[in-house]
């Protein structure tokens, strides 16, 4: 699928730079909200001017400042955990596994939770065929697993920790909290 000589990052950047068309009804949604607070903008500008260029105007500063709702957010950056190991969106201890395997005819999830049965947990391909996923309920514990592509090729999860393997085929591990 890929030209081996081409830097894969160039392809990523090229893809990300493609124009994205947002829904033009967003404009209407914005302007509706803007119009709802439209009158305030005139007063906001006036308050700002008053603050910076004092003039002899009798205006209640409290009323003006009350309208100047400058929200100062202290942004706490919380990088998300690997989103695989999940829970509450779909139910308690439900974990979704995702892998990209373009061109695969079949992908299944195989691990300690399904007795390493290659046919027990087939994954579903998204429409494009590149992205495969499945959601499984897991009781708390630590599970070794891997993806089986086309019934014969083992793929570790590139987004999960690897474990030392006994069998010359890669495995990953997922810890489900209790």
């Amino acid at each position: 699928m890929f030209d081996r000589d081409e830097d894969v990052l160039d392809r990523v950047i090229d893809q990300l730079r493609q124009p994205v068309e947002m829904d033009p009804t967003l404009d209407t949604a914005v302007m509706t909200r803007v119009a709802a607070g439209g009158e305030r903008l005139g007063r906001l500008a006036a308050v700002w001017d008053w603050a910076w260029r004092p003039r002899e105007i009798s205006v209640s500063p409290l009323a003006g400042l009350g309208l100047a709702a400058a929200v100062v957010g202290i942004v706490v950056w919380l990088a998300g955990r690997n989103p695989q190991v999940a829970s509450p969106a779909a139910g308690p201890n439900t974990v979704q596994f995702v892998v990209v395997a373009p061109g695969a005819a079949s992908v299944s999830l195989v691990g300690d939770f399904n007795d390493w049965d290659g046919g027990a947990t087939p994954m579903q391909a998204a429409k494009s065929g590149a992205l495969w996923s499945v959601t499984v309920p897991l009781t708390p514990g630590r599970y070794r697993y891997a993806f089986l592509v086309n019934g014969s090729r083992w793929l570790a999860d590139p987004a999960a920790p690897r474990v030392q393997d006994d069998y010359d085929a890669p495995s990953s591990v997922v810890t489900v909290g209790g």
């Binding site: 990088a79 955990r81 690997n82 195989v110 300690d112 007795d115 390493w116 049965d117 290659g118 514990g141 630590r142 070794r144 089986l148 083992w154 920790p161 690897r162 474990v163 030392q164 006994d166 069998y167 010359d168 085929a169 495995s171 591990v173 810890t175 909290g177 209790g178």
Partner: protein, 207 residues
Amino acid sequence: MHCSRWLAMLPLAGALLILRPSTAAAQDPRLERRLDPATLESVTATIDSARLQGLPVEALVQRALEGAAKHAAPAQIAAAVRRLAMELATARQALGSVSSPMELEAAAGALRAGVRPADLTRLRHRRTQSLTVALATLADLVASGVPPDSAAAAVIALAASAGDDQMADFRRAVERDIALGAPPAVAAAVRVDAALRQTPGASSRRP
């Protein structure tokens, strides 16, 4: 066979006699379906021995099934199951005989990752509650690249004061820092200090 080997087998033979025949001979149907007879016999012997010692056997069954799924050679499957059985036994020796099956399985994972048995013992002495999450945290940290000694030191430092949720938070924070470029050992050390400062009543003295 030499005399000494017969003598060594006596305790096992005695144990087998005490058990009901069906227990000793019972084979897991999952293994029966998936392993060839020779591998089945070898793996079953290891599993039975482990069961006699009071070790959890489900992990051994899964390790054998993994080998079957990956079409590993019979000798490889047998060796892998024996190795895991030894790790479970070592884990029980390090953690004590009252350890739960989940604790032993998590500890075996930590041992496989390179954590020393002595560190498991230290962890047991430092933490009164279940060790399962702490041990899983330890193994996951090593899997993320934290050197085993650093991971063990970090988890032991938190063992007395951090609950299971805080252990999980700590692991996530370290993994996030590693993803952002921090050297793994440094990430673990920094997060331990931060966690100890936040936990009321925690000692800031690290072992």
